[in-house]
Amino acid sequence: MAEKDKVYKFLNPIGIQEPVEQHGLAPRLDKLDGKNITLSIGAGGEQGILIPLRKMLPERYPQVNWNISFAAPHATKAGSIALTEEEQKTTDALIRGVVW
């Protein structure tokens, strides 16, 4: 067999992906009226969107009980958490502005 026809096995350089169990989304709200919804503003980011958004949401959806929260500083674990433990107990739904 000519060298050019020799068959080789080539090792796989791709990293080992562990399977991740996939979960469904949380059930949606039955209605907005009277619900406690948190707008969690990501650290530092995209004020051009988030400033008008936090003004317009209560104007447009006054039937919602709004909680506007600001994340901890960027590049910290706390900064990546959208809801505090306390907020998780009282929040029915979350809006998070992750753009930055």
Binding site: F10, L11, I14, I16, Q17, Q22, H23, F70, V98
Partner: protein, 476 residues
């Protein structure tokens, strides 16, 4: 984000359209695929943009779930040891495969397995030969050989853990074996004797980051000479096999181990050019100046890699090498005029030439590349240790709050100036305009690497981060 949904709280996020595929991948990786989102605009002013999607945003919280959203399909993964079987010519075609990705402005494909340059096809025989460069077994999972706790953010980037923990390669949070590192070493054109360095780079996260600018690695220790690395002229350029191929292997680790794919697993970033792995020049360090490994508490006989925040590139101040020489030899030229030492022979501190502008548009430490003679000049000027230089840079970085408030990055790092300023312990917003704050949080964030040869230029790049150095000898 997935933890919120999994706790039963419905959520919706605001992202950009071009981040959508990355969002999908991140959601799947976190176990809750397709978390709902709306797209904000990158360029339309918020007051015009928000009304176009605000109702969709709210609808995402009440719109009934689809069957797929309720019961997502299983994520089937396969991790075959071999990726291809065929002739060498067929293998070249296989590894040269391209794939389309969602882009903003064109549909240029990306390489599936490489960085776009030709690779050496990793046959069993070549990988076996490469594995002779380490005593570690081929099927050993890459783990931390020492504790590497680097803080929350870096942990998110996948390069933090305690001794024995598997290293996760980002963005897809994958693991790797010693054999995979040897495979990538073959592909990048490395020699077997480079393996301990490659494995140390893998332990450091394999070049992984968030893609805005690349990581690079400096080698400190005897191994640099053992494997024939260049620390002389053209240290950052092509031509030396170890410098270039090890740097390329780090890039391929990110590509292959972490599966870094722009706009698919990594959002809207510039990327970076290929960085060499480069050694420091031990022999040229002025007396009293520590080696990099000693700065990280390694012994002088040990070898380690030091991650360098290369950012997008190495930067420089515009002066000619001859201008530097004239400054030191006779006090002639523009640098001498700026420093007020015209006609006075050196040594002079050449960093005075650009120090006032060093933090004009950014913050953080700087890593300087000093030629041996420039290091000697700094020592002769009066900097008896590297720490003396780091301290001087730190002190020079102070600026008034009035000026600091005109910097953009702190808008983010201080969380809109809501957090506490470290030197005063007071909220940023309560500090008077004349309060002095440092642009460098800690003197040790600065770094000096003595290396290179030839042109006397002021080169620097991003400063030392929280990453610790990683020992090489454990991987021999």
């Amino acid at each position: 984000m997935s933890s919120i949904e999994r706790s039963g709280i419905p959520s919706v996020f605001i992202i950009f359209e071009d981040q959508d595929k990355v969002w999908e991948e991140a959601c799947r990786l976190n176990g809750v695929p397709n978390i709902r989102r709306v797209w904000g605009s990158r360029h339309i002013p918020g007051p015009e943009d928000v009304p176009t999607w605000i109702d969709d945003l709210m609808d995402a919280l009440v719109r009934p779930l689809t069957d797929v959203e309720k019961n997502p399909p299983e994520w089937k993964v396969e991790n075959p040891r071999y990726i291809f079987e065929g002739t060498l010519l067929e293998a070249i075609d296989f590894f040269n495969q391209e794939t389309p990705i969602p882009q903003l402005y064109n549909n240029a494909p990306v390489m599936k397995f490489t960085d776009g340059l030709p690779i050496v096809p990793p046959t069993e025989e070549l990988v076996e030969k490469m594995l002779k460069g380490t005593s570690h077994k081929p099927d050993e999972i890459i783990t931390y050989q020492a504790d590497r706790r680097l803080g929350d953010r870096v942990q998110q980037m996948g390069s933090s853990g305690i001794k024995g923990d598997p290293v996760h390669f980002m963005p897809m949070r994958r693991t790797a074996t010693v054999e995979k590192i040897a495979t990538i070493g073959v592909m990048a054109g490395c020699k077997p004797e480079y393996m301990p360095v490659l494995l140390a780079i893998a332990e450091a996260g394999g070049g992984c980051g968030d893609g805005r600018g690349g990581g690079a690695y400096c080698i400190s220790g005897p191994i640099a000479k053992e494997i024939g690395m260049n620390f002389d002229t053209n240290v950052l350029g092509g031509t030396n096999r170890a410098n270039r191929s090890i740097g390329r292997a780090a890039e391929l680790m990110w590509k292959c181990l972490g599966e870094n794919i722009p706009n698919v697993t990594n959002a809207g970033v510039w990327g970076n050019s290929l960085n060499n792995c480069f050694p420091e020049n031990d022999d040229a360090l002025p007396e009293g100046w520590a080696t990099l490994r000693e700065e990280f508490d390694f012994g002088k006989d040990e070898s380690c890699i030091v991650p360098i925040h290369m950012g997008f590139s190495v930067r420089n101040t515009e002066f000619m090498p001859g201008g530097y020489r004239e400054l030191q030899k006779s006090g002639h030229g523009g640098i001498a005029r700026r420093l007020g030492v015209k006609g006075i022979q050196g040594p002079h501190n050449f960093m005075e030439y650009f120090i006032d502008h060093l933090w004009a548009d950014g913050e953080g430490g700087k890593t300087f590349f000093l030629l041996p003679e420039m290091a000697r000049d700094m020592k002769a000027y009066g900097f008896n240790t590297k720490d003396d230089v780091y301290e001087w840079l730190y002190k020079k970085s102070f600026m008034t709050m009035k000026e600091y408030r005109t910097h953009q990055s702190p808008d983010v790092w201080t969380n809109g100036w809501r957090s506490i300023e470290p030197t005063s312990g007071k909220p940023w917003l309560e500090l008077p305009e004349d309060y002095m704050v440092p642009a460098v949080a800690d003197p040790f964030m600065n770094c000096i690497i003595v290396t290179g040869g030839g042109e006397e230029m002021a080169l620097w790049t991003g400063g030392r981060g929280r990453e610790s150095a990683v020992g090489i000898d454990a991987w021999r």
